[in-house]
């Protein structure tokens, strides 16, 4: 899990950040920024929206940090802000796209230097686009736990805590997500 501070340390870190301590605030972003991006992607299924929404989320976090009365609940508090922001931004984007038509939204891979020949790099990119499209086509309620499991490596319990779901529900959603992905990709990708 990306959260590396224990309860006491987390408490004091949040209190310091609430008091305007800059290094504490930086540390909060460092330790929670990555998984918040995963939550945002889990909700929207759109890689190209993640950075913008993450920026909005952190702006809201700093505005509302004083209202966090129980610093131990930081993770679920951050998650609810991120999910709400992602839902709003995702819907706004869908409305805009319905007016202007869908644009290509797949980003360049982060390790865009490519591996091997240009042909294999192109094939890799094509396969990656297919896989991401398949993930994007999942309903958000299945995509969210799937993304947190695959990007953060969280256990069912950890995912359940952050998303506010019972462990059994997390498990069922992951099974369904995998089944849907397999059905979607069968015949498209040689797995």
């Amino acid at each position: 899990m990306s959260v590396t501070v224990d309860g006491e340390a987390l408490h004091s870190l949040v209190v310091q950040a609430q008091q305007g301590d800059r290094p504490a605030a930086d540390r909060l972003v460092r330790e929670h920024g990555a998984w918040l991006r995963s939550v945002i992607y889990g909700v929207t299924g759109r890689v190209d929206l993640v950075d913008d929404i993450a920026q909005q989320v952190w702006a809201q976090v700093w505005e509302r940090l004083d209202s966090l009365k129980e610093p131990r609940r930081l993770r679920s508090w951050l998650c609810s802000i991120a999910r709400n922001a992602a839902i709003d931004a995702g819907e706004a984007h869908k409305r805009r796209e319905s007016r202007t038509g869908s644009l290509q939204h797949l980003p360049e891979p982060a390790d865009g230097k490519g591996r091997g020949s240009p042909l294999s790099a192109a094939l890799d990119k094509e396969v990656q686009a297919l896989l991401l499209d398949a993930v994007a086509s999942l309903p958000a309620l299945y995509r969210e736990p799937f993304v947190l499991r695959h990007l953060e490596g969280w256990s069912y319990t950890e995912i359940g805590e952050v998303l506010g779901l019972p462990v059994e529900t997390v498990e069922t959603r992951l099974v369904r997500a995998r089944r849907m992905l397999r059905e979607t990709l069968t015949g498209q990708v040689d797995v």
Binding site: A34, R37, S38, Y41, V47, V50, L106, P107, P109, A110, D111, V127, Q128, L131, L132, A134, V135, V147, R149, H150, L151, G153, S155, Y156, E171, L174, V175, R178, R179, L181, R182, L185, V189, V191
Partner: protein
């Protein structure tokens, strides 16, 4: 449990997420051995998981792979064999790269292997203490080299470790590691 049944899919999913109990893992192994269709399904889901995970990490700028939480059981044997081979090679290498230091000579370390730097003319005197690791009290002047002398297996034998200080990193660690 039939291939394609919801129970098998749930079992595979729990296995891939490293949530399966020992009994569930045993059951899955048994199914894989006894039923090629089940084995193919496990393989298919595992590949799908791996490839989608890679695509997601690449797309979101996460270049590092997640720690393998579901190393297939048959890979564990391979890992043990590789680790054993590495240990064996390290032991052979240490035995062949020992350096004999003649304490009865002029006190300078004479390298018997090309792996170690040949003794420089201005090399310092080492005063090795038996049964302990000892850094030389004086370093060579105007070089980046440092040597550590370790008592060898036989009397009068020492192992010299050459440290290139220009390439040596210092990192802080906690004393409770």
């Amino acid at each position: 449990m039939k291939p394609g049944s919801p129970e098998l899919e749930r079992l595979i999913s729990r296995y891939l997420d490293d949530e399966a109990t020992r009994a569930e893992r045993r059951e899955l192994r048994r199914l894989e051995r006894s039923d090629p269709t089940a084995a193919a399904l496990v393989d298919e889901y595992a590949t799908l998981d791996r490839e989608i995970g890679r695509a997601l990490r690449t797309a979101l700028g996460r270049s590092y792979p997640l720690p393998a939480r579901h190393a297939p059981w048959w890979r564990i044997g391979e890992l043990v064999a590789v680790a054993a081979a590495a240990c064996l090679m390290a032991m052979v290498w240490m035995n062949t790269s020992r350096v004999t230091s003649p304490p009865g000579g002029n006190g300078r370390v004479q390298a018997a292997s090309s792996w170690f730097a040949p003794p420089a003319a201005q090399a310092d005197r080492f005063e090795p203490l038996p049964d302990s690791y000892e850094r030389p009290r004086q370093r060579l002047r105007d070089t980046d080299l440092d040597w550590i002398l370790i008592p060898g297996d036989r009397p009068g034998e020492f192992m010299v470790i050459e440290v290139n200080r220009a390439r040596t990193r210092a990192i802080a660690i906690q004393d409770d590691f």
